[in-house]
């Protein structure tokens, strides 16, 4: 790389445009990335609903419940899906009490739980199981509930 001889021409690749492109791609993937996605199960095939609205990402506290076609519930932090009504009730109640305690510690005297429960049920699940879960959420004390669906056939 010395210029002493004055004859050699430099053959360095110009990496700057490549780097620009790579950063553009990184920006794209960062923006589209959903950090809640750890809670979303990929093997759930959601139903399709054209009137489903775009997701509201402002919700800070969410609990995602993934329901398999068999009615079992996949939740974060549980190695096995919750199968029985008793297990589901126990899990939801524990979660609710934890959320309530956190709210109280943060200065809300009434301990109001702001958690939104998101139900992602498989399209082949029975209505019975989905209804049971919704009723359970209400029984435990959650006030905000949301269903998920694909907005188009692509799902």
């Amino acid at each position: 790389m010395s210029h002493a001889l004055g004859e050699e021409t430099k053959a360095e690749p110009n990496l700057v445009p490549l780097l620009d492109l790579v950063f553009q791609l990184i920006m794209f993937f960062m923006i589209t990335m959903n950090f809640v996605s750890a809670q979303l199960s990929e093997d759930i095939k959601l139903p399709i609903a054209q009137s489903a609205r775009a997701m509201d990402r402002a919700e800070a506290e969410v609990l995602v419940l993934n329901m398999e076609a068999s009615g079992k519930l996949q939740v974060v932090g549980q190695p096995r899906p919750l199968a029985t009504l008793g297990d589901k009730r126990f899990y939801l109640r524990q979660y609710y009490l934890d959320a309530k305690r956190t709210a109280e510690e943060q200065g809300d005297r009434h301990g109001r739980v702001k958690t939104t429960v998101i139900i992602r049920a498989d399209r082949n699940a029975n209505y019975e199981d989905v209804f049971e879960l919704m009723a359970l959420c209400k029984e435990v004390g959650f006030r905000k509930l949301q269903l998920r669906a694909y907005t188009q056939m692509g799902g």
Binding site: M1, H3, L15, V16, L18, L19, V22, F23, L25, I26, F29, M30, T32, M33, N34, S37, L40, E42, L46, P47, I48, A49, Q50, S51, A52, R53, A54, M55, D56, I118, A121, D122, R123, N124, A125, N126, Y127, E128, V130, F131, M134, A135, C137, K138, E139, R143, L145, Q146, L147, R148, A149, Y150, T151, Q152, G154, G155
Partner: protein, 174 residues
């Protein structure tokens, strides 16, 4: 940043920006984000719903609902119109829509087995209602969730804002 020369009139020192490690890092990040990228999540949308009435769920029949056990806000704005969805119980069609009935104050009206017809019917029926926002869906216990969502979709598109769910009527009979 001023560039100083070592010796006046001597060989200019090369200012090499070392961008290779930066590029390495950028590729690492790129790979991380590509792996975590699931395009299907971009198509996901949300449907808000009114919570089912817990007192009704326990009572299994709306008439038996105990107002005392209800949570605040439960029995407000009762829906004047209920969509009953019955399912098929045989063979391959297990869990499909069998027939749809719309229950109004005047009685029940069959709508057939097509959700599109339901939408047309609801759009007409909604005009005469006092409460044009609330509707209740009660489906058979074995109906597939995909069809429940289809019916909910039709109710929303017919103009009802709050769709709530009632207990499966076939379980209540048992």
């Amino acid at each position: 940043m001023p560039v100083t020369r070592n010796k006046p009139g001597g060989v200019e020192p090369e200012i090499n920006q070392v961008i290779t490690p930066m590029l390495d890092l950028a590729f690492q990040m790129l790979i991380f984000f590509i792996i975590n990228f699931h395009p299907s999540q971009l198509e996901e949308g949300q449907m808000n719903l009114t919570l089912p009435d817990s007192a009704q769920a326990q009572a299994a029949k709306p008439e038996q609902a105990d107002p005392v056990n209800s949570l605040p806000g439960d029995l407000e704005l009762p829906a004047e119109i209920t969509v009953l969805v019955h399912t098929r119980h045989s063979g391959n069609a297990q869990g499909d829509i069998g027939d749809i009935m719309v229950q109004e104050s005047q009685g029940q009206h069959p709508v057939g087995d097509n959700a599109q017809n339901l939408r047309k019917y609801l759009e007409k029926a909604r005009v005469g209602l006092g409460n044009q926002n609330d509707i209740k869906v009660q489906a058979d216990s074995k109906l597939k969730y995909a069809y429940v969502m289809e019916v909910m979709d039709m109710c929303t598109r017919a103009g009802f804002r709050n769709v709530s769910f009632g207990p499966p009527p076939d379980l209540a009979k048992e």
